[in-house]
């Protein structure tokens, strides 16, 4: 059934169709309508779950961790400052190996206050051990929410579905809502296996582990994060077979003969597709590479997609002060493994922070600048910034 949905409504439908049993969340713009929609669904009996009101995002994720350890599927959603408050519990969720799924609507960090799109909030959670899946459109948001549960539960790590503030969260698009029975076939009930708090068999989870075993537990996280790369691909394939919509960790568009490949994530990828078409119509050999996963980072796919390309321009709607845009850093690291002869030049661009528009013109500028440059500069270029 098709419906016109905002990205936030799509998230809510995704969670509801995934048959979550516990939703705990605290409202924050621009996430609020996700949990409002879920609260309505709960109140109207559309979703069979408990909605637990909490006093902070820290508690929201804590409740979800508790619910998940109790053996049920749990979901939360947040944005910006709320995600920062969850940070401690994200590490905890990973260590506890609970497959909680959370949606994060990208919002710029304060100060100064800003509610618009910026990836710095989710990027800042890069090292928590939470799977990160960036979405381009509302259909992808809904589908990814469902897939996130499957991926998370298979590798027993938390997963984050990420969507841009307003460009997705508050913008409506026609979205195909899958049948609940079909989703259940794809995503059966959560089986916690032996890892749950069984009152009949009380055990302590996550008690103090000394240096003789701590490292091993951390290594298991890494092992399963690596395993997640394959699991994500398999899940994409299985989903595609069942629902006819195909997703990839790395997806190229007109890259085969491209002289400049522009790497995008989130909604910038959809602008990127059109920008590349415009540049092509002008006879310019532009291509676009959309990267969906930041963690685990699909370094092999990135390597293969960019091998032998001349130039790569990475657009980062985020930055790591004192270093560079994070996607650029990640991609540069992946490319390092290529032989010198195969390795393209990499140009980093910081653009669209705090909701500043990245339009076709912005991408054209990035293309032109990259195309005309002989060698990349030492630092990222801040596109359109009014230097003082």
């Amino acid at each position: 059934m098709k419906k016109v949905l905002t990205g936030n409504q799509a998230v809510a439908y995704g969670a509801m169709l995934s048959d979550v049993k516990v939703v705990a969340a605290y409202p924050i713009t621009p996430q609020t309508t996700i949990i409002e929609t879920l609260a309505d669904m709960q109140a109207e009996g559309i979703g069979d779950f408990d909605y637990i009101r909490v006093e902070s995002e820290h508690s929201a994720l804590s409740v979800c961790i508790g619910a998940s350890m109790g053996g049920v599927r749990a979901f939360t959603a947040t944005s910006g400052q709320g995600l920062f408050l969850m940070h401690e519990m994200l590490h905890y969720a990973t260590g506890a190996r609970v497959p909680v799924v959370l949606a994060n609507v990208n919002r710029a960090p304060a100060l100064p206050w800003n509610i618009w799109s910026d990836q710095t909030d989710s990027i800042s959670q890069r090292d928590t051990g939470c799977i990160q899946l960036y979405c381009e459109g509302n259909q992808e948001v809904l589908d990814t929410t469902i897939m996130a549960f499957k991926i998370a539960e298979t590798v027993r790590l938390p997963a984050m579905v990420i969507l841009d503030a307003f460009w997705l969260s508050h913008t409506s698009e026609p979205v195909d809502i899958p049948e609940k029975e079909a989703v259940q076939k794809f995503l059966p009930s959560f089986d916690p296996g032996d890892m749950w708090l069984d009152p009949e068999n009380p055990r302590t989870f996550g008690s103090v582990s000394m240096s003789d075993v701590y490292m091993e537990f951390r290594w298991l996280i890494q092992r399963d994060m690596e395993r997640a790369k394959g699991v994500i691909s398999e899940t994409h394939t299985e989903f595609g077979n069942l629902f006819g919509r195909n997703y990839h960790q790395v997806e190229g568009y007109l890259t085969d003969d491209a002289e400049v490949v522009i790497v995008c994530s989130g909604t910038v990828a959809s602008t990127g597709r059109v920008a590349v078409e415009v540049l092509r119509s002008e006879g310019k050999k532009a291509g676009m590479l959309k990267v969906k996963t930041l963690r685990p980072f699909p370094s092999d796919e990135v390597k293969n997609a960019l091998r032998d390309k001349e130039k790569v321009a990475v657009i980062d709607r985020n930055f790591s002060p004192g270093a560079q845009g994070v996607w650029a850093q990640e991609i540069r690291s992946a490319l390092y493994e290529l032989a010198d002869s195969e390795r393209p030049l990499l140009y980093g661009y910081i653009a669209g922070l705090g909701g500043r528009d990245i339009n076709i013109g912005t991408i054209r500028d990035i293309y032109e600048r990259t195309s005309q440059s002989e060698t990349p500069e030492d630092a990222d270029i801040w596109v359109g910034v009014k230097y003082v």
């Binding site: 506890a96 989870f205 996550g206 537990f217 290594w219 298991l220």
Partner: protein, 582 residues
């Protein structure tokens, strides 16, 4: 990935192989929580020692019969005290520091009326006792003593010179404060218990004190204070001068008093207010004359307020010098007085200023107090400051005579009379059982250092489990106000002043059930465990458990680390930390 240790953990996260119950964390403890029952300030203040927190809790849950049965453990007349008690409990209510004191009086009134409307009765199911007890005086003290003694199985005979029982509750308090049908209802319940009433019988006249002494194993004397004080001023012998108690008695007997159009009442106590308000109901123009300031009046402030609303006028800091007129009262010559040494603790001494003035009046009512009439009492009685001298439990000397009510040294209110009747009953019970009547004999029933006796709080575990009773009175700082929202006190419905001044109907409109349950929910239930579950929910070690006997909660000391969170989160101060060496 490239440096894999061969010994990989078999689980994804550190999971114990057995329950963490093997780790008895109680050994970490250096202090422990103890469930306590402290004294709520209302009960501490109540002369009758009622379990206010308990009946509030029951009323809040609509359990009115249980609430009624809880009150009558300590006070046989809740419908009466719910109207006429001056509720010192409310002045001490901890809720006053939060928003406004709970309207304890209104809730008690509703519960008392509930008992009357539902015909609730008391069974004297105790073992029958052979001893016979005489009660002399059927006022609140005598009736209360007879209630308890009958409850405990004694043969009780009540003597009173009036035609009907009730004493000042019938012949003193006007019916707009205490309707006669309420009084009759409460007393008829006592009749059903098998009390033998000898009304219209004046002991010392119709039957001698010696005969009473011979025929009964113990005697409780509570005949009240009826010797009228008088003023030593010129013209005090004139016609048109009434005594307050006699005036009120006439009106309460349903007779038309001989009252003029301009009434002056002298006095500042509750009977002065009663006389003034009654006179207003006979359409008189009324002025109360009091020698001190309004704030120093012994009368209850609410009564003063209602009197003023009904049109009673006040003249403060004035004393009469002369009653003017020929044979009948025509006016008063008064002198203005100044107050010396008046402060918060001292009512001050009026001193003449020499300035005199005159007011018109045709009736003068003297409401300046009554003394004990020694001629009405047996000769062996001794007195101290004109009151009957009694021992610790109301006993007169070493005799079988006990005393209570207005003849002994106690404030003259219905509730204090009830308290003295209860104390006398316990004294007689112990006397007849050959038990000591010493200073500490009542300690098991006392709330801390209070003189008052409470049966409900000291002998009952309803509705709250009472464990480790302390001698401390709970104050607001012992509570966790976070758990109590702020809500205004219920508004007591009062009939408009113009209407009040025209009739003798009850001036207070009876509250409805919803008002009462809402108000009762405002009660903090200070110092008691209501089973709210906060300690149970907050305990991080899950060691607070439901007591299997339904007696609140218990703490599993094998695991309690002594963190004190339960104490912090208890809304009512019913848990305390105790330092221990274990």
């Amino acid at each position: 990935m490239k440096h894999i240790d061969q010994k990989v953990p078999t689980t994804l996260c550190a999971i114990s192989t057995t329950s963490s119950a093997v780790n008895k964390t109680g050994s970490w403890r250096f202090s422990r929580p103890v469930f306590i029952d402290s004294i709520p300030p209302c009960s501490y203040e109540c002369p009758a020692g009622e379990d206010v927190a308990g009946f509030m809790y029951l009323a809040a849950n609509g359990r009115f019969e249980e609430a009624w049965r809880l009150i009558i453990k300590d006070n046989p007349f809740p419908a009466i005290t719910g109207r006429v008690c001056f509720h010192g409990c409310e002045a001490k209510c901890n809720r006053a520091e939060h928003d406004e004191a709970v309207s304890i009086n209104s809730v008690e009134r509703y519960i008392g009326d509930y008992g009357l409307n539902h015909g609730l009765t008391v069974n004297n199911n105790s073992a029958k006792r052979g001893e016979k007890v005489a009660i002399v005086g059927a006022g609140p003290a005598g009736l209360t003593a007879s209630y308890y003694l009958r409850l405990w199985g004694y043969h009780v005979t009540i003597f009173d010179s009036s035609a009907l029982p009730g004493g000042l509750m019938r012949y003193g308090i006007p019916s707009y404060r205490l309707p006669k049908e309420i009084l009759d209802g409460e007393i008829s319940r006592l009749r059903q218990m098998g009390l033998n009433f000898k009304m219209g019988t004046t002991v010392g006249k119709d039957i001698s004190w010696n005969k009473i002494d011979r025929q009964f194993d113990a005697v409780f004397v509570a005949i009240g204070a009826h010797r009228e004080a008088t003023l030593k001023v010129k013209g005090i012998e004139k016609k048109g001068i009434l005594n307050a108690l006699r005036f009120l008695r006439e009106v309460n007997l349903g007779r038309q008093p001989v009252l003029g159009k301009r009434v002056a009442v002298i006095g500042g106590g509750n009977s002065a207010i009663d006389c003034a308000r009654v006179s207003r109901r006979f359409d008189a123009n009324v002025t109360i004359i009091y020698r001190r300031r309004e704030a120093k009046m012994p009368a209850n402030a609410e009564e003063i307020k209602m009197a003023r609303e009904e049109g009673v006028q006040f003249l403060f800091q004035a004393v009469p010098l002369e009653v003017c007129g020929n044979e009948t009262v025509a006016g008063l010559r008064l002198q203005k007085v100044a107050l010396k040494n008046a402060n918060s603790s001292d009512r001050g001494q009026p001193v003449p200023t020499g300035e005199t003035f005159y007011i018109d009046c045709d009736t003068l009512i003297l409401a300046i107090g009554e003394d004990v009439n020694k001629e009405d009492l047996p000769r062996h009685i001794t007195y101290k400051r004109n009151r009957v001298e009694t021992g610790h439990m109301g006993r007169i000397g070493d005799s079988k005579f006990f005393a209570g009510g207005d003849i002994i040294d106690t404030p003259r209110t219905v509730t204090h009379a009830i308290a003295s009747g209860k104390r006398g009953a316990v004294g007689i019970d112990r006397f007849l059982a050959g038990l000591p009547l010493g200073k500490s004999s009542l300690d098991p029933y006392r709330l801390g250092d209070s003189e008052n006796i409470s049966f409900s709080l000291t002998t009952s575990t309803v509705p709250f489990p009472k464990r480790n009773r302390t001698r401390e009175v709970v104050n607001y700082s012992n509570l966790n106000p976070f758990y109590f929202d702020r809500r205004p006190r219920m508004k007591t419905g009062i009939i408009p002043a113009e209407e009040r001044a025209r009739s003798f109907q009850d001036v207070v409109i009876s509250p409805i059930e919803e008002e009462v349950t809402t108000e009762a929910r405002r009660c903090f239930n200070c110092g008691s465990c209501t089973g709210c579950g906060n300690c149970y929910l907050f305990c991080p070690d899950l060691c607070v458990k439901n007591d299997p006997d339904g007696n609140g909660y218990t703490v599993d000391m094998d695991y309690c680390k002594g963190c004190g969170i339960c104490v912090q989160e208890c809304p009512r101060g019913a848990i305390k930390m105790e330092f221990v060496r274990e």
